[in-house]
């Protein structure tokens, strides 16, 4: 029968080995050669867009790359789906955005300036070019259909 000492050894060794493997894989997958996000395209404008994304907790309602709230549309491919003009319209709207054909869900009125809306668009464009290992074709079916048809 297993003794307490052996059980402890199992815990310590298992933890150490998987922990080291995890660190190794992290270093590998974040190395420049493995970059799938085109990080060279992260311009100042993209960074400002990300800060706005953070500051307003957009993720509290929307998902991006499948992460966030489940209340409002997925935004990974939003520019392809709706176009820049539409997205800027939503962000710059001084009243809560709402569509008659979408029930009564409303978006917070951010009333962004043109510059801010442009930064958000740049952020979304950068996001939409990330290689998501296939998820990008499933998460935004409308965008995919637009491209294929």
């Amino acid at each position: 029968m297993l003794s307490k000492k052996q059980a402890r050894a199992f815990f310590l060794v298992g933890t150490l080995v998987t922990f080291l493997a995890f660190i190794g894989l992290t270093v590998y997958s974040l190395s420049a050669a493995q970059d799938q996000s085109h990080s060279e395209n992260i311009t100042d404008s993209v960074v400002r867009g990300k800060k706005l994304w953070d500051k307003n907790n957009c993720m509290g309602c929307h998902t991006i790359m499948g992460e966030g709230g489940y209340y409002a549309p997925e935004l990974t491919k939003v520019i392809e789906r709706r176009g820049e003009g539409y997205v800027k319209g939503v962000l710059m709207s001084p009243t809560p955005w709402q569509r008659a054909d979408h029930g009564n869900r409303k978006m917070v009125a951010y009333n962004m300036t043109e510059d801010q809306a442009n930064d958000m668009v740049e952020f979304f464009k950068w996001i939409s070019n990330i290689d998501l290992n296939g998820f990008e074709t499933i998460v935004s079916p409308l965008a995919k259909d637009k491209i294929n048809n």
Binding site: K4, T18, K55, N57, G60, G66, P96, G103, F135
Partner: protein
């Protein structure tokens, strides 16, 4: 209760119950919003409700864990807490930081990072608070007469949880890196170090409630936490499938996260077997219900429902849908909420000195809360599966799908009402126990 200082735990539990109540209010706000009734939008938009709901959850669970540690560590180490005064300072500062964060969320003061919304300045206060907490626990433990495995595992869980908070405070310009390290906190907490905390509390409760020999229980505790880390650390990969990092995570994350349920299965088997084996039957039946219940429900919520969407082939469809919310609810409930309820139910009669062990109301609370939560899980599940098919297979527009599934949120609200009734009864019981007193020392030593 064997040491006067254990009484501090009571106030941490009381804070827990208070914040839990608030958490549920914001849950209802979101449930109604999903059902098409978003009347509060101008004052409490969905993102505020969501941040408040999930952060209150984390804070009340942490408060519960801290209370558990303040109760368990003195008894295990056979030593009074080194400073009760500092423990109260820690309690009050925890409450203040939590409340400040929650208020801030109503005024757009936050970071848009799921589960880690606490703004940076408050993060530093959290760090100070947790340092104080860890200081009290560690010094008590090392000055104590005894260092048991149970106490070590519990303390290790708390310490690692504190350390893992730090990667969540790194700043990145890239959304991909931001997300990558956010999981070091969120995933490695709930599928790693928090399981140590849960295991430690579970082991303490089983020793007390079943009378099975400590050596046997603690041996299995090592096996369980061994399985936890063996699968859970590399299992982090199940959050890296589709966020813009290397495909290697599809394989590593897939294999190791598929093993994670083993730790929860082991926990369930462990609890049930120790209960069967135990000769001493402790009169505190309610504590036993919550203890065994936690081990079983966590296996269903985290183990089975986690497995249901953890393989990359499934996750590509379910990632970021209401299916995730279904699993999130039952997993958090079974593993962490129920274990906090268990330690509260066990320790309350000991701290107040009233041998008020079993009551119809207490049992009703248990069943209503659990059946209600299972019903909520089913409602989320049906909504989630419908969403996946309509949106991701049939390629319908997101908002159109949301309108189709509104009805399931009516069911959710009904089941949540049942759940909340159970919670209310539990809190009434909590209050009925009365407050802790030093006289409890004598009662327990009789």
């Amino acid at each position: 209760m064997k040491y006067k200082s254990q009484k501090v735990a009571y106030w941490f539990f009381a804070l827990s119950m208070l914040l839990l109540t608030l958490q549920l209010v914001y849950g209802f706000i979101m449930g109604f919003a999903h059902a098409g009734m978003d009347g509060l939008h101008d004052w409490i938009p969905f993102n505020t409700a969501k941040a408040v709901h999930t952060n209150l959850l984390v804070v009340w669970l942490l408060s519960g864990f801290m209370g558990a540690a303040y109760y368990i560590i003195p008894e295990e180490a056979q030593n009074e807490l080194v400073s009760v005064k500092l423990a109260y300072v820690q309690l009050i500062s925890l409450a203040l930081v939590g409340v400040a964060a929650i208020i801030g969320y109503h005024f757009n003061w936050w970071e848009g990072r799921k589960f880690l919304e606490i703004p940076r300045p408050l993060d530093y206060l959290v760090v100070v608070n947790v340092l104080l907490f860890m200081g009290i626990i560690l010094v008590t433990l090392f000055k104590g007469k005894r260092r048991t495995t149970t106490a070590l595992v519990l303390t290790m869980g708390l310490l690692f949880a504190a350390l893992l908070y730090l990667p969540g405070m790194l700043d990145f310009d890239s959304q991909v890196l931001d997300s990558f390290f956010r999981w070091w906190v969120v995933h490695l907490w709930v599928e790693g170090v928090w399981e140590l905390i849960m295991g430690g509390i579970l082991s303490f409760l089983l020793i007390k409630l079943t009378g099975v020999d400590r050596e046997v229980i603690e041996k299995w505790l090592y096996v369980i936490v061994g399985l936890t880390f063996l699968s859970g650390i590399l299992g982090t990969g199940h959050h890296y499938y589709y966020i813009g990092v290397n495909k290697i995570w599809l394989i590593v994350g897939g294999i190791f996260s598929a093993l994670e349920p083993l730790a929860f299965l082991a926990m369930a088997l462990f609890a049930v077997n120790m209960y069967r084996k135990g000769e001493k039957k402790h009169p505190n039946k309610i504590a036993l219900y919550w203890t065994i219940g936690s081990a079983i429900v966590s296996f269903v919520g985290a183990g089975l429902l986690g497995f249901a969407h953890t393989l990359p082939q499934t996750n590509i469809y379910t990632h970021g849908t209401i299916v995730t919310a279904m699993h999130g609810h039952l997993a958090f409930w079974g593993a962490y909420a129920m274990i906090v309820f268990a330690i509260i139910s066990y320790s309350l009669p000991n701290m107040t000195g009233r041998k008020y062990y079993d009551s119809a109301r207490g049992r009703l609370a248990f069943w209503l809360a659990n059946i209600g939560m299972l019903g909520m899980t089913v409602a989320f599940g049906v909504a989630g599966v419908a969403q996946v098919y309509l949106e991701r297979k049939m390629k319908m527009d997101f908002m159109k799908v949301q309108m189709e599934i509104e009805v399931h949120f009516i069911v959710l609200i009904i089941m949540a009402t049942m759940f909340s009734t159970g919670i209310t009864l539990y809190i009434i019981e909590f209050i009925k126990h009365g407050q802790p007193t030093d006289e409890a020392l004598e009662v327990n030593n009789q």
